[in-house]
């Protein structure tokens, strides 16, 4: 697949993904402001710092959407990367707190959690950022694509320079 096609596919993917992230952010913000919560299938929108999480998701979605036009531009890709980083920060911290919550036994229990309690910590429902988390990793494919093209440019420049210098000293 040529880079042009890759970027075209990327721009369509992040347009759709950006809209979903933006919508999730708006819902979290609205629920956070009204003080309500929502549980739907494996998704749960509740808990502490809901407004902040909503605001971050909203901005992340806006970053994705603002980067789809002329997606091959490095500045736009940087925006896509940072939009994904923002999702990674929320989801990463959620995973970190889930791991730490799963180990101790709780107020009335023993020192360590039971196997059942341990596994129950990781069961659904999940917050929206956690569900969006795997889909945001697509950005790594584009980082790699960009790295390869950067390397190609550098290599061609170096070869060019070596040849010129070599010619003089022959």
């Amino acid at each position: 697949m040529s880079n042009k096609t890759k970027y075209k596919v990327g721009s369509i993917y992040f347009a759709i993904f950006g809209l979903i992230v933006l919508a999730a952010g708006v819902v979290e913000l609205l629920l956070g402001v009204t003080g309500k919560s929502l549980e739907w299938s494996i998704m749960e929108i509740s808990g502490e710092f809901l407004i902040w999480r909503g605001l971050i998701l909203f901005c992340s979605g806006a970053f994705y959407l603002s980067s789809i036009k002329n997606f091959s531009d490095i500045h736009k890709q940087a925006r896509t990367v940072m939009a994904s980083v923002m999702i990674w920060l929320i989801a990463g911290m959620k995973i970190f707190s889930m791991i730490l919550e799963s180990i101790p036994g709780g107020e009335e229990g023993g020192w360590f959690n039971s196997a059942k309690g341990f596994l129950a910590t990781y069961s659904p429902p999940y917050i929206p950022s956690l569900l969006l988390f795997p889909f945001s990793f697509v950005v790594i494919f584009f980082i790699k694509t960009l790295e390869v093209s950067e390397e190609k440019i550098n290599m061609s420049e170096n070869t060019h320079r070596q040849l010129k210098v070599g010619e003089k000293y022959e």
């Binding site: 490095i74 500045h75 890709q77 990463g92 911290m93 970190f96 730490l100 440019i153």
Partner: protein, 411 residues
């Protein structure tokens, strides 16, 4: 062979043409990311995400150790054991060191070896480690200078500049190194402003850790209220204090991966500093408050200050004890507040008062030391200027929160 000046320049040109290649700088993704993290439109949302993760990490890490293991260790093992083996139950030495013999948790026992040790090691230490670990990662990755660039415009409104964010964030860990960090500011005026504002308005990591235990739902509100106060009184100080605030140029380093060794060394140095500076004061604070309580001084002071505490601030007169303890350690004072019978709004007001009230003794000593850099005149300026600002802030900002509760009909 001797060359003329022109011949030498011609030779230089010839060599440079053969050896130097002029090209276009290859702009990388890293450069683009560095750029968007300092532009306000994109940088502020990113900063919010970073600070959110900072807070989440702080809560999860400290909660894991404190609620997961240390509460159990202190309440189920340490407290019953020390209550059993310590001699002379009911005597005044027992009361000072172990506290209430009927207490079933370390928060309520209030002895030096029970509440004192629990607050210092069980609550504050995990919070401090979590705070410094994340802060060091931000410093070493190169994000902190970018945050300084982002906050530059806002901080200019109160006569400071972007790098003032460093002592601000540091003081969220401990006010003592934060006061030292104000040395990075250019003028005496800026240093005085920053150290006074942070000593009054910014709660330290230890206090934040305890606040998360005592009023978890209201920490955000308390924090916001203090932050608004920081900027309002900063703005006023900027208008009334003589002197200028010069412009500076910030050097922003590239992003880099933090080295595990550097992170480890920095973390150890800072945590060691906490052990030597803070822990003795926590233990001393418990002893002092217990002595004042046993000798009846606390009751006398509570009656003396009752009109101000209940009338102006709307808190019970018993808060006088924690306010005295706050001079030694603010985290200890918040822990003491949690066992006084009062409404949640009174508790929030009391926590705000503890934050605004006199800085802890370690910070106070450091403020005097900073003032001394400019001689005894500087000490007097820091002492009287600081206390005057503090008195005004406590009465106005502390009274305002009571007024807010009255308007909302909850006071």
């Amino acid at each position: 062979m001797k060359l003329t000046v022109d011949e030498r320049w011609a030779l230089i040109d010839k060599i440079s043409k053969q050896t130097i290649k002029y090209g276009k700088y290859q702009y990388t993704l890293k450069d683009a990311i560095e750029e968007i993290t300092v532009k306000p439109l994109t940088g502020i949302p990113i900063a919010i995400a970073v600070l959110y993760s900072f807070w989440s990490f702080f809560g999860a890490f400290a909660g894991f150790f404190t609620d997961g293991f240390l509460v159990k260790l202190f309440d189920n093992l340490w407290l019953p054991w020390i209550q059993k083996v310590f001699p002379n139950e009911g005597g005044w030495i027992y009361y000072i060191f172990v506290g209430d013999p009927a207490a079933d948790n370390c928060f309520e026992a209030f002895g030096m070896l029970t509440s004192g040790l629990f607050v210092a090691l069980g609550v504050v230490l995990p919070a401090i480690i979590a705070f410094y670990l994340f802060l060091i990662l931000l410093e070493d990755s190169g994000y902190l200078p970018r945050l300084a660039v982002l906050t530059d415009t806002v901080l200019h409104k109160i006569g400071l500049h972007g790098f003032a964010v460093v002592p601000m964030i540091l003081s969220l860990g401990c006010n003592v190194p934060a006061v030292v960090a104000t040395r990075t500011l250019e003028t005496k005026r800026q240093r005085f402003m920053m150290s006074t504002l942070l000593a009054i308005f910014i709660p330290c990591g230890a206090q934040l850790g305890i606040m998360l235990e005592v009023i978890p739902k209201y920490v955000g509100f308390v924090f916001l209220y203090l932050l608004v106060g920081f900027f309002i009184f900063g703005f006023i100080l900027n208008k009334i204090l003589p002197g200028k605030s010069p412009e500076i140029l910030l050097d922003v380093p590239p992003y880099q991966k933090p080295s595990a060794r550097n992170v480890g060394i920095k973390l150890w140095t800072r945590v060691k500093g906490f052990f030597t500076v803070a822990i003795p004061f926590v233990l001393l604070g418990v002893v002092l408050v217990n002595i004042l309580y046993l000798s009846g001084v606390l009751d006398w002071m509570a009656n003396l200050f009752e009109p101000v505490l209940t009338g102006w601030f709307g808190v019970p007169k018993e808060t006088v004890g924690p306010l005295i303890a706050a001079f030694l350690r603010k985290d200890l004072a918040v822990a003491q507040l949690s066992v006084i019978e009062m409404s949640v709004y009174q508790l929030v007001t009391s926590v705000i008062l503890v934050s605004l009230y006199f800085p802890c003794i370690a910070t106070f000593v450091m403020l005097m030391k900073e003032g001394k850099e400019a001689g005894w005149k500087g000490v007097c300026q820091y002492l009287f200027g600081g206390i005057l600002t503090l008195m005004v802030v406590v009465f106005l900002w502390g009274g305002l929160i009571h007024l807010i509760w009255i308007i909302l009909g909850v006071a």
